[in-house]
Every structure is written in C-alpha cells, then in structure tokens.
Symmetry: none
C-alpha cells in the first residue's frame, strides 16, 4: 500500500518532470523544437521512457495545456477579492493579459495553437477552457446586473470582452505588432485594455 502510494507519487513526479522540461523547451526554443528526443535529452532519460508516462506526444501537449488552465484559473480566482463587478472585470482583463504575456507558450497552447488542439478543443469538451469562460461570463453577468453593461445576450457580452483581451495578446504573441516599437508593445497592450474599458460607466450605456 505504502509502496503503491510511493510509486504513484514517483510516477507523478516523472510526469511532472517531463512536462516541466517540455515546457522549458517550448520557452527556450519554440514549438517546433519540442521533439520527444529533445525532451528525453533534457530529462536525461531515453525517448522510450517517455512513452511509459504518456501514450504519445499529443498527450504531453494536452497535459501542458491543462496545466496552463490550472494556472490561469488560479489567477482568475484571485480577482474575486475585488468586490465591485466593473473593477473586478477590469482587473480580470489585466490579469488575463499578464498571464498571457508572462507565459506566452502556455497561452499559445491554450488559445491559439492548432496542431494538437483539435483533439482537446473539438473532440473532447475542452472542460478546462469552459471553466475559465464560465468564470468570465459570471463576471460580465454581475456587471450587467449592476448596470455597468447593457443586457441582451450574455454570451455575446462575455465573448466581446474575451475577444478584446484575446485579440490584444494573440496579436502580440504571434508577432503581428511589428509596426510598434518592441519596447512599447506592453504599454500599448495595457493601454488598449484601458482605452476600451474606460468607456464603460454606470448608467452611461
């Protein structure tokens, strides 16, 4: 029993190690450099060993993707301490952007990458993604209830907020902001959120 437990833990550790190094490769070298062989080199095990913990490469990507959502959700939950719905929404936006720009590879995997995403996003139900979306939706709902935002279709409202922040970060992450000087990009991202949100005020809808 204790043995079984220890094995379980070691197995988790190994999985964790693989994921950590895989993500390290993403970070350092980009998606196309993440090969099973490279991960194996990083963890100093053989490629075959990786297949003891993950059935294939996509599963590794899926696990990283879930890790990313775990992290994002944790950050989302932190905004609950802000009570005013609009302030919370603004903070929510800042938190989302910060996550994306701090962990662009996770964000890419979660919201942009196509390659293996198809599997988790379309075939399965993308539960992790859904949870984060629901959290945003609730925030938007609160804003409507509080009269900050007009009603109508709640999904439309939530989606428009999500689109704004996703647009900001995904244009940056995928390098489509070459018209802005590199060092100003972050400020423009934050400015853009601020600029859009500033128009939202109680009773002014």
């Amino acid at each position: 029993m204790g043995t079984v437990e220890r094995r379980e833990r070691e197995k988790r550790n190994m999985k964790g190690l693989i994921l950590k190094r895989a993500m390290g490769l993403f970070l350092k070298e980009g998606f196309e450099k993440v090969t099973i062989r490279r991960i194996a080199d990083e963890i100093e095990y053989s490629p075959a060993t990786i297949y003891l913990y993950f059935t294939n490469k996509d599963e590794i990507l899926f696990a990283l993707h879930e890790q990313g959502f775990e992290e994002l959700y944790k950050r989302q939950e932190a905004v609950l301490s802000t009570k005013d719905p609009l302030d919370r929404l603004k903070r929510h936006g800042r938190v989302y952007i910060a996550f994306a720009l701090e962990k662009p590879e996770y964000y890419d995997l979660m919201f942009i990458m196509r390659a293996p995403a198809r599997k988790f996003v379309e075939e399965e139900e993308w539960t992790a993604g859904r949870r984060s979306y629901e959290f945003l939706r609730k925030n938007v709902e609160d804003c409507i209830a509080a009269g900050y935002l007009p009603g109508g279709n709640l999904d439309v409202a939530a989606f428009s907020v999500w689109s704004l922040v996703h647009g900001i970060v995904s244009l940056i992450i995928r390098g489509r902001c070459s018209m802005f000087p590199q060092e100003k990009i972050k400020a423009i991202a934050e400015g853009a959120l601020e600029y859009s949100m500033s128009r939202i005020r109680k009773g002014k809808m």
Copy 2:
C-alpha cells in the same frame, strides 16, 4: 503574339492552381499537412513541377499571404464610400470579420500562423500588413477628430479596435468557441462587434 499571351496566361494559371490547391490543403488538413508532395498530388503533377513556378515552399506561403492582403485591402477600401467615420468604422469591423470568416485559411496565414510568417512579418517589413493597419488607423483618427472616440495615443486606440475584431475571429478560426453551438457562432461574432461598438456615441466618451 497570341501564343506568348496564352502562355503567359497559362503560367499564371498554373501558379494560381498551385496556390488554390495549397490553400485547399490548408483548409482541409492544416498547415503542417501542406507539403510540396501533397500539393503536387493535388494538382496531379510531380513535385519537381512546383519548383518551376515557385523557388521554394516559403514562396508559396508568401504568395498566399500577399493574395490574402490584396483581398482584404480591397474590401477595406470599399468602406470608404461610407462617409461618417463611426459608421465607417463599424462597417470596417463587419467587413474585417466577414473576410476572416469567409476566408479563414487566408486569415490564419495572415494574422495567426507562426511557422513561415516569421519571415514576412519580422524580417521584411510586412508591408502588406502595415498598409491594412494604416488604413484602420486613419479610420480611427477620423473618429477621434469627429469626437466619437477619445484622443490620446492613436496607436493605442487603433490597436484596441483591431484587437477586438482579431480576437473575435481568431477564437472562432482556431476553434476555441466550442461552448457556443456551432450554428450560432457567426451571430455571436457579429453580436460581439455590435455590442462593443454600440457604446461609442458622439459626446459620450
């Protein structure tokens, strides 16, 4: 005489055919499935033939990318017939979204795809992209001049508009909208634009 012309046309046609089928592969199977061999299969010619029309694979991608911007810019220019800056901006948004959803593979190549984009986006000046951005920027500038939008940093303003529409379409194109029923997605996209834009009114900034 006529012969030269016909040949010219055929050569163009062949290039066009290659691009069309390459784009078809993008659509059906995703970027990583677009290989010279697969394109060759599609056009029922040998791989070597493709090299008679394009010097390498990147050139094919670049040509598609430019085609996309040509088409987008044509659509953008059409909105000039709308004189009121705000109406024009709204129409601009609708036109952008329509383009992206009608030609998702082009949009992907232009604004999302990473792989070969690096070359055109970073190393070269991404002139085509810039031109489209300048066009939007001017529209936003007009809106500010007309008192529809608050001033401040013009790039921030333009980028926030761009981000909104890019966010909408890229979440759809990359399949992150599985929480919405497939058939409602287009309506939600348009609704999201409308929802965000409706808050903009003269003097209400």
Copy 3:
C-alpha cells in the same frame, strides 16, 4: 552548299559557345556547379537546346577534355625549339606545370577527375592523352640517347618523369598543400621540379 557550310559553322560556333561557358562555370564555381541548367542560363538558351549539340552532359565534359589536350599539346610542341634534350626535358616540365596551374580545371578534367573520365580514358583509347604521353616519351628517349639518363625500360623512365610533374600539380590542384603557406606554393612547385631535375647531368647517372 554555301548554306550547308554556314550551318556547319554556326553549329560549330554554338558548340564552342557552350563549351566556353561550361568551362567558365568550372572556373568560377567548381565542378559540382556545372549543371546543364546553369550552362543554359549562361548561354541564354534553354536546357533543351544544349541537347541539340551534345547528346549528354558527359559529351560536353569529353569535349572540354579534348580542348584541354589540344592546348597542352600546343604548349608541348613549343619546347621543340630547345635543341638539347635535357634542357628540353626541363623546359617540358616547366611548361607542363605552368599549364596545369594556369588551367587547373582543364588539368583536373584531363588527368584527375574520375566522374565521366572513365568513359574516355578506359573505354575509348584516350588518344589525346596518348599523344601527349608519346611526346614526352620521345623527349626522354632523346635524353637517354644523349647519355643524360640511364636506359632500361623507356616507359618506366618516361612514367617517372610524368609522375613527378603530375604529382606536383595534382597535390596542389586538389588542395593537399595546406602545410605550405598559400603564397609560396607556386615557388615550391617550381623548386621541386628544379630540385629533382638538377641531379640529372651527363655521365653522372
């Protein structure tokens, strides 16, 4: 008749042009860059045109090879003006080395290259090469007759002279002299000939 003649001449001219440009490519870019396509580009005709004048690539190489022997033989004949056999042999050596170092691509094709050489050297009788060899053989024969060199097998004697000069130039041409400073190589080549030949003196054999 006149027409036939002109055509003949033009045909010769075209062949000559092809050979000239092919050799130009050898010179500028090295053997592996000499492709039918590159030659075609040089002469500003299509690749197919080349096949009107030569049945295949090897034939072009063969023709160049023969041109080379023509040139070498012309230079060899020039030494006939030196009457003393030993002086003539020494001069013969210098002339041979000068040819090889001035036209290394020709020399390579004639005496080193394997690729297409097999055909001309082995299957056919390598007539051109034979003629040059006979010329040297005669010179050596004269040296023996004049008491400068010991008798014995005439071919052995001739071959040993040929080997010396061929060794000198082929080590240089194929880049095996990296132990000598680049700028001294030519002097060493000439010195080596001188050094070896200086031991030959009448009655001192």
Copy 4:
C-alpha cells in the same frame, strides 16, 4: 558489466560495418554512388539507422579518411627499423606506393578526392595528413644530413619526393595509364620509383 562492454563492442562493430560497406561502395561504384541510402541497403538497415552512428554523411567520409591515415602512418612507422636514411627513404617510397595500390579507395579519399575533403583539408588543419608529411620530411632531412641529398629548402626537397610517389599512384588510381598493359602497371610503378631514386648516391649530388 560484461553487458556494457558487449554493447560497446557492438556499437563499434556497427560503426565499423558501416564504414566497411561505405568503402566497399567507393570501390565498386565510385564516390558519387556512396549515398546514405546505398550504404543502408548494403548493411541491410534503414537509412535512419545510419544516423544513430554518424551525425551526417561527411562524418562517415571523415572517419574513413582518418582510418586511412592511421593505416598509412602505421606503415610509415615500420620503416624506422631501416637505419640508413637513404635506404629508409627508398623503403618509405615503396611502402607508400604499396599502401596506395592495396587500398586505392582510401588513398583516393586521402589525397585525391575533392568533394568532402575540402572540409578536413582546408578548414580544419588536416592534422592526420600533416603528421604523415612531417614523417617524410624528417626522413628527407636525415638524407640531407647524411649527404645523400642536397640541402636548400627542406620543404622543397620533401615535396619533390612526395610528388613523385603521389604522381605514380594517382595516375594509376585515376586510370590514366591505359597506355600500359594492365598487368605491367604495378611493375612500372615500382620501376619508376627505383629509376628516380637510383640516381641518388652519397656525394653525387
């Protein structure tokens, strides 16, 4: 333990096998036929397997090239048992020729072949080649010191000896001796060395 050792040996064997068959292809079909695929066919493994033992094709050629110099140097060292410098030099010559004619493909790779040689010869220092050259140089130096050969530039003297033997064997290896009956070629080669060397006698320089 024993297992590790056995594996080591097998790995070496595999490398050796690859090299052996690669050399076999050189022999039978010439340089340009030595492709990864052909080697793979020869060893009855897949092309990919070869990349487990060598990082690329050049490394295979380089390994063969080094093997050749190892073998040559071993044979060179053997002549040290001959004490008289001139006798040693003559034996040195015979040993060099014997090596070249017994292992013509190695000799070709080491001293004639152009293709990949560039790398080892020019860019790197061609250490292996240098070592063999230094060995010869020392032998010539001893001959000069003993009064067998005239002094002057030592490199010139050494190069002229090297050129003679290289000339002999490279004309044979690259098939330029079609004027001699095949079966007499070896005798002519040895005769040529003898003929040239016989002129060297103490005090007769």
